[in-house]
Symmetry: C2
Subunit: 718 residues, 2 copies
């Protein structure tokens, strides 16, 4: 699968065309123009991502709300009929989702976060930022989440944000035919990466209504190329998202959006929860951290096995198998979530407590705790149905809720934990858009609440809230599975709107991440590896300290080009290997060889295809004399987003062409970064990663030093 | 003053001693050991910084509280006596502060943020991280803030945190004689920078009780070398600080800490403020942003002039002048803050409103709004005294407070604004520890509240709170003066504990920063420039696109060393220039020159002083045969923190020494980063800044490419 993956190139190719363009630009005007465009795009990304999130949420809530209210109405008369209605609605929704994804946008399957992580790390996976992927992601996740599968809509929202950002950057050029300057602004991987970073943060901000969390999420993934200006822009985008979402929710409050309003955006206000904690509680909290690390690592391992198995045995067989698979999973989920609560005996309602404002059983058709489901008496509730026969958002709210001590029996919670964990593992990897945040929170808050129940029993203190433990459990599972740290912590704080729990969440995350790291990598890294996305970690491996650059770059002869090269030679060299970058070697007057730059395969293909640069003479042409520069503008060499570009087979050379030459000098990157052969690989790694490089030349030690550059030399005043 | 400043070196000097050490280490054990030590230090930094913050706050609050209660008691009988008591207490406190700073720790003057910013950017200012500076900072800021000057304790706390971090890293080695491995862990600039980053974040977290703001503050300053692991550690430190401060405040609540408790840590809960806002309000808010930008830029300019003038005319004359100056400023401040409210006519108290819980006039000896000061009747209050004759923290709380519409007359606010702005400008640059956050918030919230009063009058809506406008005003002034963005925004949100205002704060900051940027740089950049701290901005200058590396590095001949060099030559070369790094040139067997590395002046000085490496023969010694490596361990070459190290004059060579040779090969950094001569300066700049370099070799274009390094080559599995 490695062929679907290509490195991004964050270097500015300072070739002749670029230099010419730079020289002809009016500096001040151009810089301000760029700035305005960038901020405008940040604004647009925020608005569009916000709207996408609102759209997805309204749709999901309406489908799910309609489904549950219908089912509840029918089961008043017949549980069997209700069951069939419930199952079929789910099936239809999931089928729609999997159909869209398999037929129309295969890249929309899964959460998309591994791919976005890869993109920000410097690897492009084909198809992840296309328009069809965006469509598939939005409608697919409405179907899969509305259909009640054990997955969430938050991961897909991140991918959605990234798609929107990339399309905006590209859309300006390909669709609306704006002027050519506009073209050049967002045609490089460098600018696109900034946009995608904004989009990624916007997605997180939209999913969790957590603007700061969004910024930190983007930051944790892209620390190597981060700049303060970018940070401010990313933050701006996130805040715009927050405003859009807020406004939309305010607008919907009056009931204009159907069932939407009470659920939807995950924001579980636990501000009425526990205010302080004693030191004795730190021990059970640490236990939660350990459990989270273990269960999270297990989850990663199981999902890894199951996805590998699926890839090798099921998904090869074509789309039909994928569709059948998703439908089977949907059936299984429906049967379990409807059937299990049936087997559970109802419990009598607790004494009504007017201060908490919670009714038991909950009034029909509304959201809340204490669901009356298949109970013989009216003042009874079914604790398993309260969490199982519900949308996941509502279930989490019920699990987090304070002032409901002893609502759940440990038996129900355990049953739910086991079943839901199984469902989440099985669901992972079906061909629908699927996030792992919400299932993770479900699993975590279940065992968290279990621990909380023991703590309440054991410590016999009144100010302990099981809901707080559920929250910590959620944090621990996410930490144990995703291994994100700061961003997860801030997201948890923002969604619960309770800054006071920050140190506790951090403690739990520290432990669960450490425990999880002892077993395997985070779920996104594992999945990225499985998909052949080569992520560069932020830290070089320890072994690299004892290796030098020369050892790393393989033993094969370097494939290079002379400055003026015959057309058939270009063709055959390109055909003979799969390298994407080639050194170009010229000779000085005295005949010594001299490396004059790096030429990219994609540029060579453009030259071969357009043919305008072919020349009859085997001598270098003087770039200054000819009208060289007007033959191409730099936009022509720009790489298209998420697609393969020109292929060697597309190029047809006439016999006349085969006699021609190309002078590569105007097209090459004249100053790629270089390292001496015996530099230690740690340093090479840092250079490579920090600068986001694609190719690095390993050269012999220099024979002279022409000058030293120090800080003072770089302090040029305007 | 440039001589007090030295670049930091973040490169790992992979010389012979280092490589030997690496090879002999047991990998797994060492890596885990490092990790544990780093986390342990993060914990310690958090705890110590938290305690330092608590100590400063308790002291300041007690001094100030005692001062005000004494004065209030005396003015019941005589205003003249009260005035003299007030003035003299202030004078004594300020005198103590300026005395400590001038006599004992000159580097503790000012806010310290420009220096820390410089340190994180890669420039060391002598003395900023010493123990005496820490002491001066802590006690000096107690005096200056307690003495009622127009300055804050937040900037100094950031410096304090950084000092604590650096001292911890160093203290392990020089004081407690821990084992030699411990030595090596924190002896490089690289590790020290990580610690200082932690300390800096801890300082912000302690000053504002804003853990996330602390992380983002550190991040905005050091984006170029940021890594995700560091982020997590920094966040951990900040959270520890938050826990420590919180615990201490909880402990103090019961009155164990004297006057501390009601004021102290700035945390102005405006959660009972305005909940939503109409679009019409965005216009006055934008106006606030513009005012903030203008006044902030003016503040930067005025302080720049006044500090320049002070440096050139006053501070040269010695410490006595500095002391007199600070005392005069203290007198002026006392006279104005006591005298002006006397001239102000009292207003009658508004109708008592039991729901707000605010009494008028406030009960004696307590904190709160509606101060009765020099009023003829009992149910009157003096609005100017409410903000002027008060600690700044309480004044800000009063300005931010909701449900007190029409408390202040616009006349009083204007008077206060003008006088306080003037005082803040005059105070800036006196030789005491001085932060600009709190004065900035004071100024900003005053004009913010003024605008708010007009809005209340003009829009005639009931749900507008003047306090919210005061908050926005504070944000705008800080934005206009400091030009920080994300971190400032998050800090404002965290100190007001109101996430809903985030978009408004952001809007105001966007505008005020843009307006301010049109005039000058941020206050910290301006002050850093004035102090000769050469900061590298995150973005290369536009001109650099059209320059190449060769052009930047000056025209002087490169001063280099041969591999084996005569001792007197070393001495005379070092004497003949001030460069800190020198290329070392050897010859291959065939006689061609070959650059074998870079040797640092500081290392040469160590070699010259210790003399153990002198040899009689002018031939290279084989490092493998002799016991070369045991003569030095890498700790010996480590640079001392914030001090000049060995000076050339300290070295005394005997006539015998003058006949000896040194083989430099074991001591040089064998693979400094290199760039080809015609690389564009933009790329050079990025390389230099991203990797935190100090020296970069400009070399001729290579003649061969020995290999290419791509992403695949760097994916080494364990
Ligand atoms: N021009 C070249 N000549 C010889 N070896 C090369 C050349 N380019 C790359 N290599 C080597 O080939 C191996 C595979 O690299 P590959 O060809 O996939 O690089 P690339 O395709 O140019 O970059 P990427 O795959 O990251 O986009 C690496 O070990 C690299 O050192
Ligand atoms: N060994 C050298 N030979 C010739 N020129 C040098 C040498 N080292 C530095 N320079 C030049 O001298 C100028 C001043 O640099 P300076 O000597 O201050 O560097 P440094 O002291 O080594 O580094 P820093 O001041 O950043 O610590 C720069 O323009 C630089 O290019
Ligand atoms: Mg390749
Ligand atoms: Mg120097």
């Amino acid at each position: 699968d490695g062929s679907a993956v290509e490195s991004l190139d964050y270097e500015v190719i300072e070739n002749f065309a670029y230099r010419e363009e730079q020289a002809h630009r009016r500096r001040k005007l151009y810089v301000s123009y760029l700035l305005v465009v960038k901020w405008f795009f940040a604004l647009l990304i925020g608005i569009f991502t916000g709207f996408a999130a609102v759209f997805i949420n309204i749709s999901v809530e309406n489908f799910a709300g309609w489904k549950y209210s219908l089912t509840f109405n029918i089961i008043q008369k017949s549980y069997v009929a209700g069951f069939f209605v419930y199952v079929s609605i789910n099936l239809v929704l999931v089928y729609t989702s999997v159909y869209i994804v398999t037929q129309f946008s295969p890249a929309a399957a899964g959460s998309g976060i591994p791919e976005i992580k890869g993109y920000l790390n410097g690897v492009d996976t084909h198809g992840i930022l296309l328009f069809r992927t965006l469509i598939g992601k939005v409608f697919g996740s409405i179907g899969s989440v509305g259909g009640g599968l054990a997955l969430g809509k938050e991961g897909p929202l991140v991918h959605t944000g990234a798609c929107i950002a990339s399309l905006l950057g590209q859309g300006g050029s390909t669709k609306y035919h704006l002027n050519s300057r506009w073209f050049n602004v967002f045609k490089s991987d460098r600018d696109r990466r900034d946009l995608v970073t904004c989009g990624c943060a916007a997605g997180v901000a939209a999913a969790f209504r957590a603007p700061v969390g969004g910024v930190l999420f983007a930051l944790e993934e892209v620390t190597s190329w981060w700049r303060s200006q970018l940070m401010w822009r990313v933050f701006f985008t996130s805040a715009i998202v927050a405003v859009v979402v807020r406004t939309a929710m305010g607008w919907c409050k009056s009931g204009k959006c159907g069932h939407f309003g009470s659920g939807g955006f995950i924001i579980w206000d636990v501000s009425d929860g526990q205010e302080d904690y004693s030191f004795a509680e730190l021990f059970p909290m640490a236990i939660i951290g350990v459990i989270g690390g273990l269960l999270g690592a297990l989850f990663n391992q199981l999902t890894l096995y199951i996805t590998t198995w699926r890839r090798n045995h099921l998904h090869k067989k074509g789309n039909r198998v994928k569709i059948i698979e998703a439908c089977l999973v949907s059936l299984l989920t429906s049967v379990i979530s409807f059937g299990l609560p049936l087997l559970r005996k109802c419990s009598p309602c607790p004494e009504p407590d007017p201060t908490s404002g919670i009714e038991c059983p909950r009034p029909p058709g509304m959201y809340g705790n204490y669901v009356n489901f298949y109970c013989s008496k009216d003042n009874e509730y079914n604790d398993l149905a309260t969490i199982f026969f519900n949308t996941q958002d509502d279930a989490i709210r019920n699990l987090f809720s304070a002032k409901t001590i002893n609502e759940y029996s440990s038996q129900s919670l355990l049953t739910f934990l086991v079943m839901f964990y199984g469902l989440a593992v099985v669901t992972f990897g079906t061909a629908v858009p699927a996030g792992q945040f919400v299932p993770g929170i479900m699993i975590g808050s279940t065992y968290g609440r279990l621990v909380g129940m023991f703590v309440v029993k054991y410590y016999r203190k009144l100010n302990i809230e099981e809901g707080t433990y559920a929250l910590l459990g959620a944090a621990s599972f996410l930490g144990g599975s995703m291994r994100m740290t700061v961003s997860l912590c801030v997201i948890m704080v923002e969604i619960t709107n309770n800054l006071k729990l920050l140190p506790l969440i951090m403690l739990v995350l520290l432990i669960s991440k450490a425990v999880g790291d002892a077993f395997n990598d985070g779920i996104y890294e594992e999945q990225a590896r499985l998909r052949g996305i080569p992520l560069l970690e932020s830290k070089p491996k320890y072994e690299m300290r004892n290796m030098i650059a020369k050892e790393a770059c393989g033993s094969g002869r370097v494939v290079s080009f002379p400055r003026v090269v015959k057309v058939p030679d270009v063709f055959s060299i390109l055909q003979s290997n799969t390298h994407n970058g080639f050194p170009v070697i010229d000779h000085t007057r005295s005949g010594d060889p001299l490396v004059i730059g790096l030429v990219l395969r994609s540029h060579l293909l453009v030259i071969l295809q357009s043919k305008v640069d072919f020349q009859h003479s085997p001598l270098p042409s003087d770039p200054r004399s000819g009208g060289r520069s007007i033959r191409h503008d730099s936009g022509e060499f720009a790489k298209p987003v998420s697609s393969k570009g020109i292929c060697l087979d597309d190029i047809h050379l006439t016999s006349e062409d085969l006699e021609m030459y190309i002078d590569l000098a105007p097209f090459l990157n004249p100053s790629p970064y270089i390292v001496p052969e015996d530099m230690s690989l740690t340093k090479v790694y840092n250079l490579f990663r920090q600068l986001g490089l694609r190719h690095l030349f390993v050269v012999p030690r220099p024979s002279r030093v022409l000058g030293l550059i120090t800080r003072k030399d770089l302090l040029i005043e305007d």
